[in-house]
């Protein structure tokens, strides 16, 4: 099995930049569809408390008094966990999720429409993580 280091990391900056005017996404970001990727962000427990589904957000949605709020689909990823998520949840901590990426508008019967999804996701704390803002790109961002 490939180590986590070999899995390409996508950033929210890349996701935001991939959105076209017609709410479609660029071919570059689509090329990651069906592949395992890593994304780092804050957990927004929008689904059940077993975290079988949650949103991954560029900014901490629950810190009310600083930073900006995530504005919509381009700054959140819908995450469907592979199995029981065993983490100590902290709304102000960055987590890394690794799973199969999907790009493009799709509606889920339970959770509604979304632009970016990660399925069969594994969740772990992202030690020393940095969440990149729009316009920033990690120097080591992997290409498809």
């Amino acid at each position: 099995m490939a180590g986590s280091e070999e899995i390409p990391r996508l950033t929210f900056a890349q996701l935001v930049d991939s959105i076209r005017a017609d709410s479609g996404v660029t071919e570059t970001i689509k090329s990651y569809s069906g592949k395992e990727v890593a994304i780092q962000g804050f957990i927004v427990p929008a689904g059940p408390p077993d975290l079988s589904f949650f949103l991954l957000s560029r900014v901490s949605a629950l810190g009310n008094y600083c930073c900006e709020a995530p504005v919509g689909q381009d700054e959140t990823v819908y995450v469907f966990a592979a199995k029981e998520v065993n983490i100590t949840y902290d709304p102000l901590r960055i987590f890394k999720i690794v799973g199969v990426f999907e790009a493009g508008m799709r509606a889920d019967a339970t959770y509604g429409p979304s632009l970016f999804r990660v399925r069969n996701a594994r969740v772990e704390e992202a030690l020393g993580a940095k969440v990149f803002k729009t316009g920033d790109f990690p120097a080591s961002a992997s290409k498809p």
């Binding site: 427990p45 059940p48 949103l55 949605a61 709020a69 700054e75 959140t76 949840y89 709304p91």
Partner: protein
């Protein structure tokens, strides 16, 4: 005679000591199994009983109080918000469904929950379904003509004994506004089983202060957004507003689970100590038995029994004690968890784990292994028993 036969014969030869050892192992294992099952049951009960709505909006204050009060009915209601907040949220294009909730009083401890028909409606995204066991839902009455019709949760109906058509109130100031039972819900295995539902106009009509208010009060609004991705912005806006706070119920539950994890760690340490004590008991029991039997063992050795046979007999004795105690402990642990779950079940907060699961063979194997290991030192002692030394005349 096989090693097993000899080992069992030895155990039967000291029935009280063997029974006490088995009971002590069984009690230790029962305690561990029951604790694990109940801890898991409580966590799963919270998960199963949580709301399908993604956001709870209420007055500024403790997020935990808001969720425990509105969703689990385990805390006092938070202060009121204005009904106009519900109206605004209903018209917000990001909101698919908004459900108003009014709380405050109770009848014999069963909380009054004022709401409207949306609370019970079936949506494609909803896990929980409400069905009537008897009667009908309360009327969606007008603000000027409250009907004071009540719909009882399954446990509220069972415990109070109220039937369709019964009228009830609690506290003399409520005597003028008795509620009439018009329906009883089937069990939902959640805190809703312990609630008494009625309409918002009835809720406002029962309270003298609310009757005089131009803008009626509410306790909370449950929100389902059209898109989950709108949830963070809704959450932020409602929190930054001066009057309201918005809470993700799953976030609060995860915080509770984090706190429970600390208690579970403490429990785990206590259980580990219990395990060590039980193992020590097995060790002492086997050690005493071996010391007492040194002459017998020496005789066996003199009659041709090999050292390995003697070692095998003692280890088999330990394994047999551990097997019996382990089996008894697993059965006992499940029984305790089942009865505790049955007692706590009506609270809607404990999922009962009465069935045996795939972990039980692993638990039993671990108990047998550890029990056998506890007998290792006495077995080595028996293994090293010198024939000449122990067959010497006693006096």
């Amino acid at each position: 005679m096989t090693i097993l036969t000899v080992a069992l014969k030895y155990l039967r030869g000291r029935p009280v000591a063997s029974a006490l050892t088995i009971v002590s192992i069984a009690l230790g294992v029962s305690l561990m199994v029951a604790s694990v099952l109940l801890a898991r049951g409580i966590k799963e009960g919270f998960i199963a009983g949580t709301t399908d709505y993604n956001l709870v909006v209420g007055a500024k204050g403790s997020p935990m109080q808001l969720v425990l009060g509105v969703v689990f009915r385990m805390d006092l209601a938070t202060p009121n918000i204005e009904y106009t907040i519900y109206r605004d949220l209903q018209q917000d294009p990001r909101v698919e469904t908004a459900v108003p909730i009014g709380m405050g009083d109770a009848y014999r401890g069963f909380r009054y929950v004022a709401t409207n028909g949306a609370y019970f409606a079936a949506f494609p995204w909803r896990r929980k379904t409400f069905a009537l066991a008897a009667g009908r839902f309360f009327a969606e009455d007008q603000q000027s003509e409250p009907t004071y019709e009540a719909l009882l949760g399954a446990e509220a109906a069972r415990s109070t004994g109220l039937q369709i058509g019964d009228r009830f109130y609690e506290g003399e100031e409520m005597a003028e506004y008795p509620l009439t039972v018009v329906g009883i819900l089937r069990s939902t295995h959640s805190a809703d089983d312990r609630a008494i539902f009625f309409s918002l106009p009835s809720y406002w009509g029962m309270n003298e202060i609310a009757r005089g208010m131009a803008i009626k009060p509410l306790t909370a609004v449950l929100i389902r957004p059209r898109r989950m991705s709108d949830l963070p912005s809704l959450h932020r806006e409602l929190n930054v507003a001066a009057e309201t706070q918005a809470v993700l119920p799953s976030g609060v539950l995860l915080t509770i689970f984090n706190m429970m994890a600390v208690a579970e760690d403490v429990l785990r340490m206590i259980l580990a100590i219990v395990g060590v004590i039980v193992l020590l008991y097995v060790f002492v029991s086997m050690y005493s038995a071996t010391i007492e039997r040194r002459r017998e063992i020496a005789t066996m050795r003199a009659l041709g029994a090999r050292r390995a046979t003697v070692l095998g007999i003692i280890l088999t004795e330990s394994a047999a004690l551990a097997t019996a105690g382990g089996l008894g402990g697993i059965v006992g642990g499940h029984a305790v968890a089942y009865f505790a779950g049955s007692l706590l079940g009506p609270s809607g907060l404990v999922t009962s784990h009465s069935l045996f699961n795939v972990f039980d063979p692993a638990v039993l194997a671990s108990v047998i292994l550890l029990g056998t290991l506890a007998g290792l030192l006495p077995a080595v002692l028996a293994y090293r028993t010198e024939v000449a030394e122990n067959l010497a005349p006693l006096s």
